[in-house]
Symmetry: D2
Subunit: 259 residues, 4 copies
């Protein structure tokens, strides 16, 4: 279809019910719009600001739900890994292993992911330049795996804000297919509460700019009830707005395809 | 036409010939694409990094050339002012007075521009947030002039780089029509040479993202021979690429207009 | 005495009484500590965030007060200028002409100050690297004036914060005597209120670090009643704390002098 | 002695010989100056920019060398850990477990370190505010371990530079004893070569400012032959300059102790 692809789903897998419910709706929308869709869900949350934040429902339980989503809707899935030993474990259940932004400089973790033979999605560190992502990509290809993509999730701008540098998109496309994570790019970290804030009102703006700048894919966390989601509630898109967003982005992409 | 408008021209007015030659070509392109066009040219350059940089051909001589461009092609013109006394002088010759980014916090200068009754174009300081531009806009309207627009020209990112924060576009549109200056947004200041550098290879990317994000206008410096331009050569768009850029942007805008 | 020198006084000259009262106390303290002292006061405030902020009591009136302070206590004085025409005017009354950070790239203003033959104090733009200050210094010396110094007043860090980069001190000392402005370095600009905030609780920390890093001078705004000062109240040091601060800094300087 | 304490040693343990040679000299200097000394050495390097960078001589081999240094000179030791399983392993050999800056948001790793009962040294992420370190400290104390300290190693400033924000020192001292890492604070990351650069010429400036600002300890990587060190050569202090640096810093500290 030559449309952009989409990694979307809740931040964390909270239950089978919620995962299936979100997947069902996103599949429906993306089928209509001919958007290649990958279901996203974290099987654990390892880098919360506070020790009392939600960290997951159990690793294998969550991974099995990811597999069930894949089987039920015939869509590939992506999840993020945090320890070297997570790589082989998660690879049994999902199609894409994602390296979190904070961890993308951990060579052992990147190599462990690459060695599974699964697609590796490398998030650009908030502290890294687009150009420096070529070294992370090379760690995957040097491990004998050419299935690698990179995802921009914003760059630190002062202590409590992030900015998306759209110059990074053509830059990183030289190294690998490039995704824009519109959810985490709009975080506002280091808030005094210890809970990361955000600017979900800017999702449309950033997503449109990303498509216009030529991204290959988008990453969007979405939930039918963001306010009650167990993590990242501040930035997730309410599922009810996803269809209209993707419809507009698809139109924009059709024009970009003619350039 | 509901298309975006365009402020474009050379950085500095170097001679009548070059001004007319650039204007003629841009008028031709923008007429075809139904882009409202304002010819841009600085009558003096007051904030160069080095004392030996080119500063202009003479104030009135340059202003008269701006007037001649306006009369010849029936287009409005814009120029930037640096001293309070420049406001009344430039207002005799041009339609829009532009406050440079470095000077947008100088209350007297903003008020002097406002009091001429001309349209005032306020450039966002590289050191200012989008939100803080509301105070600059208010200085114009409090002076009894409602014809005001704002232009983003990027924000400092470290010492030697700038970034465009596209969240600023919907933010500043709340205050006034909002323009994206794709030329100066791509500057890389504070280079060790004392000559500002840039990323002209990113003009397409940033301009497209700007249209997608909903800007009202674009600001582009262009020259038929950027390498020999007397200022800002590092970032000006070669005139030969302008038509294809604007053609693509117009298509993008037509889609954005349907959102 | 080989002690650091001090530029200190209120932000703006509000009245003769307050100027003399502040000067008297600072002279007393600095005489005891053998700190060469220059009285500082702005004769107008030209770059306020909002049009309704206090801008001064009248230019000549304020300048005459500066002169009176100088005559009364036999101390040199410094004030900042904003327009080319301010240079000659202020030079009749004060010993040092200061170029504000926002304006340090305005070549005409720097040259106008230099041509008066007075000492020129160039504030580093919040958007400039320490290295780039060499070009500003050169504009003064190329105008035939070798009496030039530079002052660091912090660097933008995100939209609403500033940071002092102490690497800049040895860097700028290569070009000219270097001052650390502990008042404005601690500003937090672009607050949503339109009034600049600050971190006056960090004055001690930043001043001590500056002396240890080898600054030639310090710049401190001080007032006997900061909360009711007409500008910069958020960051001025309460005059009652000045003696103990300077006493500690003098001890620190004595050790640094042995390195 | 009320002097600051010192964490110092090579970046990575390259061999027993080099570790002992460096330790011997630092012990000699710190004994004379009454500086409490902790020998620092990494047993593996896990986050190199490039896959072909040196990563270590073998985990247990390196840890045993750390133990030997400790036994030989009767000094405590510190090393950094990267995987949860490293915590228990390293705790058998060293006194302080250090959490690298990139990993300080990994809750499991921080908790694993805390649970060993060893002192935990938390490096502030380059992407974190000083204030946000209170949450990291709390993860240690909530795990029943009150022996925790924090280390500032600079904050991202644009893509290719870092800055030390000295306001962070009094801020973090509210949470735990605070160390300034003068080596990594002066890194310049994301260089196009894929090898991190630095400003070792600024070690004196930053270290002095740190002592003046009241740090409890300093962290300095040092080597008798930095140019041939297997990692971080760009920023390590040549061992021959350590004595004079520490002598000056001790004098400075004596003054600060009187404040």
């Amino acid at each position: 279809s030559n449309n952009f692809f989409l990694l979307a789903g809740p931040c964390a897998i909270e239950s089978e019910d919620m995962a299936l419910r979100i997947a069902e709706r996103v599949v429906e929308i993306t089928n209509t719009l001919k958007i290649p869709y990958i279901f996203k869900g974290s099987f654990k949350k390892a880098n919360r600001s506070r020790i009392d934040s939600f960290t997951g429902i159990g690793d294998e339980k969550a991974l099995k739900i990811l597999k069930k989503v894949s089987d039920t809707f015939d869509v590939p899935t992506v999840t993020d890994i945090h320890e070297n030993s997570d790589a082989a474990l998660a690879a049994e259940y999902v199609d894409i292993l994602q390296i979190p932004a904070f961890l993308v400089r951990q060579t052992d973790l990147v190599v462990a992911a690459a060695k599974t033979g699964k697609v590796v999605n490398l998030k650009k560190g908030q502290f890294m330049s687009p150009e420096s992502m070529q070294h992370a990509v090379k760690k995957v290809t040097d491990s004998g795996n050419n299935q690698v993509m990179v995802t921009d999730r914003g760059t630190m701008f002062g202590y409590q804000d992030m900015v998306v540098d759209f110059r990074g998109i053509p830059t990183m496309k030289q190294y690998a297919p490039t995704v824009l994570d519109v959810t985490h790019s709009l975080q506002q970290p280091n808030q005094t509460s210890g809970v990361t804030g955000g600017r979900p009102d800017m999702i449309n703006t950033i997503a449109r700019a990303g498509i216009a700048a030529g991204v290959d894919g988008l990453f969007i966390e979405t939930h039918f009830d963001p306010a009650n989601a167990k993590s990242d509630g501040a930035n997730m898109l309410d599922l009810q707005y996803l269809e209209s967003l993707l419809t507009n982005l698809t139109k924009l992409r059709q024009v970009v395809n003619t350039f």
